[in-house]
């Protein structure tokens, strides 16, 4: 692996994590959409919402990660992909808007009917977005995105046999992953009826995804022969075999009710097929553009690699904390158990407000002098520092929390 491959590996890892994490959130939307009416359906929809609400934003960011890494490290490829596949990406974007807005709106709903409307919109967009994103990937994989500013066909670049196949596979995979995660979650909480229902859904969606993948081999053979060849006989073959084995294994684990193990095995199946695609297609990025040709200059590749590694060192422990808390149920369904802290007399001792006011006023004057009258950079540093001290000391001097209390006696007057 050369330096110019490294950011692409990061982007593919990001794509894999987006699929298994955010994909499952989309899948949850699918199950909420198909949950049916009545109390049973309502229970599923509430369950899906609660298990996804704390994590969907963090999961969604993987998409942003993939976009930013690709446009930094492979700008020409990104420009070509985004302009030719603009219709698919806009559709995916609208799906993402509606679904994100649905999370915001659901907190305001007060009746079942209102919740139902929000969940339906969220569910429809949860099918639309993964389909459109999958179809866009199909466009790249079937070599329908030429280098250039919107140089490919805006519609047939993604709405074609391979694009439709990968779009449908994406929807089925999302539904499958979601059902497995939700079954595992319900099993942990010993909600036996929900476990049973999500197990049935997982088996159904898993079989559907498997059938689409099998049928897909025929489609690839006819419509994207280089990719087919790379997957079946080329560098992608081991990954394809791993993916098939892991997929079968995961289904067996779901059947046996071992959802936790099934989660990870299913994730391996998804990761392996993404790796298989990359291995089958490399070194070609887009037609007549290899990865080496697409890569940014050396300094940028070094900078993005360092940035991603440093970022990962911060993000992964944070993600682990989030998932540990959600899986441990501490961010889920438990009751309010906060200890009340010991009361302390006042927010701030009112000892030195007079001094603080003077300091704040002095800092404001200093910042005016150094920021407005002077032009040198060192003067601006002093001016900005003084301005920040002005805000902090001014806030401490104003003690808004106490102000609200002292104003109490005036309230009758005010009315």
């Amino acid at each position: 692996m050369r330096l110019y491959d490294v950011p692409l590996v990061f982007a593919l890892i990001g794509l894999g994590l987006y699929t298994v994490l955010a994909g499952a959130d989309f899948g949850g939307g699918f199950w909420a959409l198909t949950a049916g009416s009545g109390p049973a359906g309502e229970r599923i929809r509430d369950y899906v919402h609660h298990s996804v609400a704390a994590v969907w934003e963090a999961n969604h960011v993987w998409l942003i990660f993939v976009l930013t890494v690709v446009w930094t490290a492979y700008p020409v490829a990104f420009g070509s992909i985004a302009s030719t596949l603009s219709v698919a990406l806009i559709i995916a974007g609208f799906g993402i808007i509606v679904r994100g807005a649905a999370y915001a709106l659901r907190s305001g709903t007060s009746s079942t009917a209102e919740t139902r409307v929000v969940d339906t919109a969220s569910g429809l967009s949860s099918v639309l977005a993964p389909f459109a994103l999958g179809a866009a990937i199909g466009g790249i994989a079937s070599r329908r995105v030429p280098v250039g500013n919107a140089a490919g066909n805006l519609v047939t670049s993604w709405l074609n046999p391979v694009g439709t196949l990968i779009g449908a596979l994406a929807v089925a995979t999302c539904a499958y992953l979601a059902a497995v995660y939700l079954a595992a979650d319900a099993a942990r909480r010993e909600e036996h009826d929900l476990t049973r229902r999500f197990r049935a859904r997982a088996l159904g969606a898993g079989l559907a995804a498997g059938a689409i993948a099998l049928g897909g081999v025929v489609v690839l053979h006819a419509d994207a022969h280089p990719l087919y060849h790379g997957l079946v006989a080329g560098d992608g073959a081991p990954a394809l075999i791993l993916s098939v084995l892991a997929g079968i294994c995961a289904l067996g684990l779901v059947w046996a009710g071992r959802f936790e193990a099934a989660q990870y095995t299913a994730a391996v199946a998804v990761g392996a097929i993404i790796a298989g695609w990359a291995l089958a297609q490399q070194p070609v990025f887009l037609p007549h553009l290899t990865i080496a040709q697409a890569a940014a200059p050396h300094d940028t590749l070094v900078a993005i690699t360092v940035a991603v590694l440093a970022g990962a060192a911060i993000v992964f422990p944070s993600l682990a904390l989030l998932f540990r808390l959600t899986l441990a149920g501490r961010l889920g369904h438990t009751d309010d158990a906060a200890a009340t802290p010991a009361p302390v007399a006042a927010v701030l001792s009112a000892s030195t407000p007079g001094l603080l006011v003077r300091v704040a006023a002095a800092c404001l004057l200093i910042s005016l002098a150094f920021l407005t009258a002077a032009d040198a950079r060192w003067a601006h540093v002093i001016g900005v520092s003084a301005l920040l001290v002005f805000i902090v000391t001014g806030f401490l001097a104003a003690t808004p929390a106490e102000l609200a209390q002292t104003s109490a006696s005036r309230e009758n007057h005010a009315e």
Partner: protein
Amino acid sequence: MAAFAFPPAHQAYLLQARQMQALSFSVHIPLVCFGIALPAIILYVEWCYLRTGDMLYRTLAQRWTRIMVALFAVGVITGTILSFEMGLLWPNFTATFGSVFGLGFAIEGFSFFIEAIFIGIYVYGWGRLSPRMHFASGIPIVVSGITGSFMVIAVNGWMNHPSGFRLVGGKTVDVHPVAALFGNSYFWHELLHMYLAGYMVTGFLLAGAYAVGRLRGRWGRYERTALAIPLTIAALAAIAQGPVGDWAARDVATTQPIKLAAIEGLGTTTKGADEHLLGWYVDGRVKYGIAIPDLLSLLAFHNPNATVQGLNTVPPDRRPPVNVVRVAFQTMVGIGTLLGLIAVIFLFVRWRHKRLPDSVWFYRALVFAGPLSVVALISGWVTTEVGRQPWIVYHVMLTNQAVTGASGIPVSYGALALVYLAVACGVAWVLRRLARVPIDPGQLSPSQAAG
């Protein structure tokens, strides 16, 4: 004409593409303000609760947390659309310069990660984590809000004052992304200006909501606290914005003289240039405005006899649309001055009489301060973004060289406008719903005043 990654594409709807970008940006940027300022304000309130054990602060922090999570969710999606549009609308810009500026967005992506992760922990951790742990889980949200806006502004600063690369045959060479983004002197004033604006918008909007309550007779200790805290922050930020704005204008005067000329409607290069308030730019000069002799030279260069470069120094097709930029600038400055006045009145009453203002007129003004601050925010961005036109990368790439060759921009623009209108209605609805959730009086003890 310089070559870029792709040959120039024909685009009949450049204006619509720009408007679509402007719409996406105008929807997103007020949400960014809440992302910058609201976590810090909530943490302050939670800190008050930890110090005093007063349940009122806990209730307040929890209710504002609900607002934060709703607005963050919408900010996530509007931000995603913006990152899509980098390629959907301006593929040649990203294809040519992604290797130079992209790093900023990649680091911003990690800030966004941290923000999303810890908002998840903070929001769902109320009552489930120990009070100290919960407070601590809010700190990364505030920090990543700062680093995130730092990165985005660094990219914008680079677009206004590009460096760190050479363009050879359509390819960027000698690329030094770190120097390009962070060695750029231009972006510090932008960062501080935006950061203060974030506190002003959030503070005035929040305080305005409780000012409405005050005018309708809801004025208990809870409402007073909920008004006093954001108003104090917004007032201090509004005052600090004065010197920062002046600094920004002088940096524009030296680095982007044509933008300054558009802001001021200065048709021809002038020694001892006048400043015009209001008016309209026609035929190379401002008509119907109030002229103040030599003030522009004095403000921009601290010398009443300084020469200020006029629009006539560049060909007409290299000038930004003067009246858009000028009206936006005057709107921003006018509103900023009004907000500064409100701030001075509030702080004076607080300092002199040790109480909140009594006058109904103060609260009436405060109701409008929030929406006006949003208008000022967007006007400010119009000033800098439209003022950079016709350049997308100042003096390097024209906006019409960056635009996509794909058809159908008017369709996507119209669809996006409709979807955003629906989202805006939805957000307004959910905020009203959240505001109407009754407060349990037991949660406002101790020393609960009549409400």
